[in-house]
């Protein structure tokens, strides 16, 4: 009897969701989780902004295992959600596997890349993290009095090297003889959410002379920012604007407008234009954050120099080397 009840329940659940969910957008967060104060949270903020503006509703989901990537895509696409927006490069391969089975559903991979010729219903959004990192690197180089600055990444993966490489180029551009200390937090995914370890590395970098530290490490960055404040040095936030977390101690934040990407995708809805979209300085996809929390830290000369470099990057006069293009970095050794 109980079995029949379960089966009926299952059917009822499916019917319920199939009916309620038609053409609502869905958002799947990467393994780091929704409230990481950084990458995934930016996606959530973008979706929330869309929901409050339009009065629409969206379904969001935090996965907990690799095998759930494909499972979640299939379930959400099957239940009628459209478009299905995902964050993190780990989603590109599962999307390539699922997309052909749901030709009428639009999939979005932020940070990932899916061949647009083979999968016409997928939008791949990539960010020029190296350009934004270059600008905050310049700020770090100009602000540093010791001539040594730090970089703390999450895991040693190509994406984080791209951040670190752009940053190091910016530092060297501002102060040719500056030293950049590069560290990664760990070797397994817990490195994205290990504030204690982040704080330890920040201390180690300070003892080596660093007085500005850029954290590109998800939730681990919170520990870096906290430790920088405790030690009286400066930090640089990442992805979201993190200036407000420790006012007066966060020099700036390297903005990666994941929120804008999600907002735009949800606003376009099922009519989303697919293909490959690059978000860079010119399209305001990346940048640096200025607000009342860091106004006293950044001098007008710094802003002028950084904006001049930004203008050059936008016009193509200045090209920041992208680590991903050839797996080498002119300004740093990984």
């Amino acid at each position: 009897m109980t079995l029949t009840k379960h089966l009926l329940g299952a059917a009822a659940t499916l019917a319920l969701f199939a009916g309620a969910a038609t053409a609502d957008p869905a958002l799947i967060y990467d393994l780091g989780g929704k409230f990481d104060k950084s990458f995934n949270e930016a996606a959530f903020n973008g979706a929330t902004k869309w929901a409050t503006e339009t009065g629409g509703t969206f379904k969001d989901l935090e996965i907990t295992a690799e095998a759930q990537r494909e499972q979640a895509l299939r379930q959400l696409a099957g239940a009628g959600f459209n478009p299905v927006v995902t964050t993190g490069f780990g989603m590109s391969d599962p999307i390539a596997a699922v997309a052909p089975d749901f030709p009428d559903t639009k999939f979005v991979t932020i940070d990932g890349y899916v061949d647009p010729a083979a999968h016409p219903n997928v939008l791949s959004i990539g960010f020029a993290e190296h350009e934004g990192s270059y600008l905050v690197g310049m700020m770090a180089g100009m602000k540093s009095t010791t001539g040594t600055v730090g970089f703390i990444g999450g895991m040693d993966i190509p994406l984080i090297r791209k951040f670190g490489c752009g940053y190091a180029q910016g530092v060297v551009a501002a102060k040719a003889d500056a030293k950049v200390i590069l560290n990664m937090t760990g070797t397994d995914p817990s490195a994205w959410n290990n504030p204690t370890k982040g704080a330890e590395i920040a201390q180690a970098q300070k003892s080596q002379g660093a007085d500005v530290i850029f954290a590109a490490a998800g939730g681990t960055g919170m520990g870096v920012l906290q430790s920088a404040k405790d030690q009286g040095i400066l930090s640089i936030g990442v992805d979201s604007n993190q200036n407000h977390l420790f006012p007066g101690s966060v020099l700036t934040s390297m903005l990666k407008r994941v929120d804008v990407a999600v907002y735009d995708a949800m606003k376009a809805g099922p009519d989303l234009e697919t293909g490959v979209k690059g978000l860079n300085l010119a399209s305001d996809g990346v940048g640096y954050a200025m607000d009342e929390n860091n106004a006293d830290l950044v001098t007008p000369e710094m802003i002028a120099a950084v904006d001049a470099a930004a203008a050059k990057i936008k016009s193509g006069e200045l090209v920041v080397h992208d680590y991903m293009s050839d797996n080498t970095c002119p300004a740093a050794q990984f």
């Binding site: 379960h6 089966l7 329940g9 299952a10 659940t13 969701f17 393994l31 989780g33 989901l61 935090e62 996965i63 907990t64 295992a65 690799e66 095998a67 759930q68 499972q71 979640a72 299939r74 379930q75 959400l76 490069f89 780990g90 590109s92 391969d93 940070d111 990932g112 890349y113 895991m155 040693d156 993966i157 190509p158 994406l159 760990g186 070797t187 397994d188 995914p189 991903m324 797996n327």
Partner: protein, 363 residues
């Protein structure tokens, strides 16, 4: 003193522990303003209510069977192998190398080679801590857990710098050739006329895990080596006096344990992802400890406990998908199950035993 009947010890006690764990989980769900009955229904229907759900439940269970058996074998020699995570990581490397470097004409040959490679890589990774324990007395708990980190660092280095295809953002190996893809459980069952959902990750590795469970049972209770392992585990001094070589037993038990943990990677790397991911073990090495504990270090207990944890994983995924219950709560439920069935097992065992004694006394 008479003991309670065996069926009560093996089935009733874990069942009561489980019910208590779920009741407390229900209270927690109630406390965050959600409906526990609805949550339970979503979990059960999502994980066990359809062949689709079973496909995922059994996929996760397969991982836990391998790592659970690995922990059990070592445990019978009173060695606490908490390096299953690292051994499975290395096993994944073995599987990937075999699948990437050799163009296999058929999956069965690839599987045979993958079994050998996964077991060998896992065993080698366990051999170093085992040697240090046997010869130098370095405690196996410390060394195996340290080897988990070394394995993670090694895999990270190899994936980012060696195995990653040029230009790929993802720190993962290239895709394996389609000829190495293992048959899905769904396809296999459909072939013999049993309807089963397609597109689920459960694959032929499940059968391999079950074969391993039987093999471990035979090894431990029906061979001379198994007797030596168990004697050594019960009392090292007595075993030594009886002529059992402690170095040999430590090494052999850990090699088997590491080999079993390594074979887990066949399920995730070759069976599911078809490429080597940075995160292909995902904590299954640690869940294996809980599974072994709950299964009382008996292979068949391990199989049942694995299915329970597979249910928790798949049910948890459904919970996250269809309710507003945050994913952290699924970890809470898993923690409560481990707490009550493992750590607090005696809490239930004693009262149940007393109950049986009283009934027997009254009669």
């Amino acid at each position: 003193m008479e003991k309670m009947p065996r069926w009560a010890d093996v089935l009733l006690v874990p069942l009561i522990s489980l019910i208590i764990a779920f009741l407390i989980s229900g209270l927690v769900i109630l406390a965050i303003g959600q409906n526990p009955v609805e949550a339970m229904r979503v979990m059960v229907t999502g994980a066990l209510g359809s062949s689709y759900g079973w496909g995922y439940t059994l996929y996760y269970a397969t991982n836990f069977m391998f790592t659970g058996l690995a922990v059990s074998v070592a445990f019978h020699a009173s060695l606490f192998n908490i390096g299953g995570e690292g051994q499975a990581t290395l096993g994944g490397l073995g599987v990937a190398l075999v699948c990437l470097l050799i163009p296999w004409p058929h999956w069965s040959l690839a599987l045979a080679a993958a079994i050998v490679a996964a077991a060998a890589f896992g065993a080698i990774w366990a051999a170093i801590p085992a040697y240090l324990q046997a010869k130098r007395g370095s405690h196996i708990v410390i060394t195996t857990i340290m080897f988990n980190f070394i394995a993670a660092a090694l895999l990270n280095y190899l994936l980012v710098n060696v195995l990653r295809p040029q230009g790929s953002m993802d720190p993962a190996s290239a895709r394996f050739a389609p000829t190495t893809n293992l048959p899905e459980l769904g396809a296999m069952l459909n072939a013999v006329g049993i309807p089963f959902a397609k597109g689920t990750p459960a694959n032929i590795s499940l059968l391999l895990a079950l074969v391993c469970a039987v093999a471990v049972w035979v090894l431990l209770w029906h061979t001379r080596l198994g007797f030596e392992i168990r004697s050594f585990g019960k009392s090292q001094k007595a075993a030594q006096y009886a002529g059992i070589n402690p170095v040999r037993i430590t090494m052999v038990a850990m090699l088997i344990s590491g080999g079993l943990a390594g074979m887990m990677a066949i399920n995730t790397v070759q069976g599911e992802a078809n490429r080597l991911l940075l995160n292909s073990v995902e904590g299954a090495g640690f869940i294996g400890i809980a599974v072994a504990l709950m299964g009382r270090n008996h292979p068949f207990g391990v199989v049942l406990a694995s299915i329970l944890f597979g249910f928790l994983y798949q049910g948890g995924a459904e919970l996250a998908l269809w309710t507003q219950i945050p994913r952290e709560l699924i970890t809470v439920i898993q923690g409560l199950v481990i707490l009550f069935t493992g750590a607090l097992g005696y809490m239930v065992q004693k009262p149940v035993e007393a109950l049986f004694m009283r009934r027997r006394g009254a009669r």
